[in-house]
């Protein structure tokens, strides 16, 4: 018979993940208008802990979480862990004249970590993480007129809708060849479909409209590798609280299958599939962690991706540029003493991040900043319910663009169990 403490977390996990999927189904069609550019909004998903700490984590090696920021950080995981997340994302967007609030709830990834040999830091991790998301819904207008003996005027609206995204399937491992040094690597299979449609809606009667829908199925591989020096105490004792990590993700050559579906009033047509490719540039990041005390941790991360080297069928598309992100965050970990007051067992996080996004429409850079906060609630044993909230801003109305006020909340459930270890009472 399984112990009650082991059943409850898994039941909660199933409930939470189900809610995440259900939320995806009921969520609105929210998203950023900027996701029309490139391959959409690039997701950075280090996990709920990192999201609450200003999107940091490359230089940290938690044992209670599966840190997606760096595969080298997994070496401290000493029991099987499952972490699933959902992301609520709301955009209060304005063009200076009108504003609207669109939000959606999405599945935000799930990872499973299985320690193979904890003494060697050998941990196997697999799962799914979001990589990009397209979600826009807007209108433009047009007018066609011919003046002469036979005057023709046709006004029309174009309803533009973008949806879909790219998901990253991750399979990787970490190991620690030395006590304070670990390495990790993962194979990332990126896949998904980006759909962009424009529906022409004539204003006057007597004209027919139609919808052009471009569907792009994407798949491809890249690799991520990371190193982590979990303490610099080997150099000098004063540097013992410091940790240092770095991560590199290789360039991904994504194969795409493009087709266009035409929906008319009377019929439907689909173009022949075209095989193309997208070169997603490599990315890298470095992070520093500082263990100020047993329960206080501070982290700083820097990640960058030179999108100017991207290759969309031989050319870098207009409207994108190199991106980078800087994050700083702190955490006060909850007490793990069973007799500690409940509020003292909660973890508290705070952070700030600045993101130079790769959006650069018409030469107008779109930068994003956000303050973040998070909490971790102990559920049972080493299981945690994590909540991270973030408020930020992106872009500006100058240059005919849009300013997004962004509110994100990440919910994740982190559960653990001792697999392959027999309980005496079992």
């Amino acid at each position: 018979m399984l112990k009650r403490q082991r059943v409850l977390p898994f039941l909660t996990a199933v409930l939470g993940l189900s809610a995440a999927w259900f939320g995806t189904a009921v969520a609105g069609s929210g998203g950023s208008a900027y996701s029309i550019l490139g391959i959409g909004d690039i997701r950075y998903a280090p996990g709920s802990r990192g999201a609450g700490m200003g999107y940091t984590g490359i230089g940290l090696a938690p044992s209670l979480y599966i840190n997606a920021a760096s595969p080298a950080s997994w070496f401290r995981i000493d029991r099987t862990r499952l972490e699933g997340a959902a992301l609520y994302e709301g955009f209060n967007s304005t063009d200076g004249a009108r504003s609207r609030y669109l939000a959606r709830l999405d599945f935000h990834g799930a990872l499973l970590a299985i320690p193979i040999s904890p003494s060697d830091g050998l941990v196997l991790v697999g799962g799914f993480l979001p990589y990009s998301q397209v979600g826009y819904d807007t209108y433009t207008t047009g007018l066609y007129s011919r003046v002469g003996t036979d005057t023709v005027t046709m006004g029309y609206r174009l309803h533009h809708i973008g949806s879909g995204g790219i998901t990253r399937a991750v399979l990787g491992a970490s190991c620690a060849p030395a006590q304070a040094f670990s390495v990790g690597a993962s194979l990332n299979y990126m896949f998904g479909t980006l759909s962009r449609s424009s529906e022409q809606i004539p204003v006057q009667s007597g004209f027919s409209g139609g919808t052009f829908t471009s569907n792009q199925s994407i798949s491809g591989l890249n690799f991520t590798t990371g190193v982590l020096v979990s303490t610099l105490g080997g150099i000098t004792e004063s540097l013992r609280p410091l940790s240092l990590g770095a991560v590199v993700t290789t360039r991904a050559n994504l194969h795409t299958i493009d087709d266009v579906t035409y929906d008319y009033t009377f019929e439907r047509d689909t173009s022949a599939a075209q095989y193309k490719r997208i070169g997603v540039p490599f990315s890298f990041g470095v992070g520093i962690g500082y263990q100020a005390s047993e329960r206080w941790t501070i982290a700083v991360d820097y990640t960058a991706q030179p999108w100017s080297e991207s290759d969309f069928e031989g050319a870098t598309p207009a409207g994108i540029r190199d991106s980078y992100r800087i994050g700083i965050g702190a955490e006060r970990a909850g007490s793990r003493e069973s007799v500690a007051p409940w509020l003292d067992r909660l973890s508290y996080r705070l952070g700030f991040t600045f993101h130079q996004t790769y959006f650069n429409p018409g030469g107008h850079p779109v930068d994003e900043w956000a303050v973040t906060a998070g909490m971790a609630f102990p559920l049972s044993g080493e299981s945690r319910l994590n909540v991270a909230a973030e408020y930020g801003s992106r872009g500006a109305t100058e240059g005919g663009l849009i300013r997004d006020r962004i509110f994100r909340m990440t919910f994740s459930l982190n559960i653990s169990d001792l697999w392959f270890v027999r309980y005496e009472e079992d």
Binding site: F22, G23, G28, I36, D137, G142, Y262, D269
Partner: protein, 398 residues
């Protein structure tokens, strides 16, 4: 609550809170609409709209004998046009009276239209039908040699008469008596066909069995009696099947014209080359313009609306297979003889391909009830302005 109790209940409580918060927050979202849509200089994509006028690349008139089965049956001759009417009162309605004497049998037809010479002669004879037939399958070809007996079972000769005239014809009593015989396995009661005489110079239209008023339906009044006594009974029958078939030969005499003849099945096919429109384009509008020839067209006063119908041709077979969807064309407002038809559907289908052209036929409202003729100039018309034109506006993604 004690700290121990809080630890027990808090996980479930927090999970529930997180789920409720997430769903509630998602529910706060507005729906994206045109009213709250934002304007931004982003590469949303646009369409290119173009318009063009093209003329037909080919056309022809073809005859396709059609099943008429309309609400009006035509009978008679006018010019080269001939119409026959086939009728059969339901045999099951006649009682089996093998010894009954038929004293008289009169067929009454309620006229409703006429076509041709209003002062002409309306003369026809009645002939026994020799084959099984149906009002939903009988066409001109199948109503010729061998379909009916040459011997007449009755005849009528009248003038044109008023529009609502009731034409009465006496049927041969021996012929009618056969309908009261006990049915056998070799029953041959197929009814009769009304055939215009050579002297007939008018076509009359009379209401069919399908009429919703019994007093307008064809009626058969029979006076029968006992072979041994003086008693007589009068019975009236007004249920059965009927249809007419019509034909006109040597119709297409002018190579510059297309002929649409109702009451027969003369139709036209027409081709336009739209291969210059890229596949995937949205056909916003497509207007087919035809010029009617008022001199050769022949429309009776009973035809309220000289409309035509255009249908996409689906195959290269002859006669062509037509799209079930019809596109109505009518005289364009402000013009005397220009017919306008919205053929967006056809052009959109052609852009996708294949393109077998367009079929033109008289409006369904009079194709099966009147011998009207509409003629239109084709692409060989000497006056270029009279040639069929197709005005197209289409959009392609930029």
């Amino acid at each position: 609550m004690t700290d121990r109790g809080r630890r027990k209940t808090m996980p479930a409580f927090l999970s529930a809170c997180a789920i409720v918060m997430a769903l509630a927050a998602a529910g706060c979202s507005e729906e994206p609409t045109e009213l709250n849509a934002l304007t931004a200089s982003l590469p949303h994509g646009d369409v290119v709209v173009r318009d063009t006028v093209i003329t037909a690349t080919g056309s022809s008139t073809y005859r396709q004998f059609e099943v008429m089965d309309g609400a009006i049956n035509l009978l008679g001759k006018t010019g080269n046009y001939t119409a026959l009417t086939a009728m059969n009162f339901y045999p099951s309605l006649f009682p089996a009276r093998d010894t009954a004497l038929i004293h008289s049998a009169r067929l009454k037809l309620r006229c409703i239209t006429w076509h041709g010479d209003s002062t002409g002669t309306f003369a026809f004879s009645v002939h026994r039908i020799l084959k099984v037939w149906s009002q939903t399958t009988l066409i001109w070809d199948s109503a010729q040699t061998g379909f009916y007996e040459s011997a007449s079972q009755g005849s009528s000769l009248t003038g044109a008469g008023p529009d609502t005239q009731v034409v009465t014809v006496s049927l041969d009593t021996a012929f009618v008596r056969e309908w009261f015989m006990t049915p056998t396995s070799t029953d041959t009661r197929y009814g009769f066909v009304l055939v215009p005489d050579p002297s007939c110079t008018i076509v009359r239209g009379f209401t069919a069995f399908d009429s919703d008023s019994t007093h307008l339906q064809p009626q058969l009044e029979i006076i029968a009696g006992s072979p041994t006594g003086p008693s007589r009974d009068t019975a009236t029958y007004y249920q059965g099947i009927d249809t007419f078939v019509g034909n006109i030969d040597n119709l297409t005499t002018d190579p510059q014209l297309l002929y649409l003849h109702a009451g027969v099945g003369y139709r036209a096919s027409m081709q336009f080359d739209v291969s210059f429109i890229p596949r995937g384009a949205v056909v916003n509008s497509a207007e087919l313009l035809l010029q009617r020839d008022p001199v050769t067209s022949r429309v009776s006063k009973f035809t309220a609306d000289t409309a035509i119908v255009a249908q996409t041709i689906y195959t290269s077979a002859q006669p062509p297979v037509l799209d079930i969807v019809t596109q109505d064309g009518r005289r364009k407002a402000g013009t005397a003889f220009t017919f306008s038809t919205d053929v967006r559907r056809s052009v959109q289908l052609w852009v996708h391909g294949p393109n077998y052209g367009l079929a033109l036929r008289p409006s369904l409202e009079f194709e099966f009830v009147a011998p009207d003729l509409l003629t239109f100039y084709n692409e060989r018309a000497s006056d270029p302005l009279r040639r069929p034109m197709l005005k197209i506006i289409y959009s392609t993604p930029l």
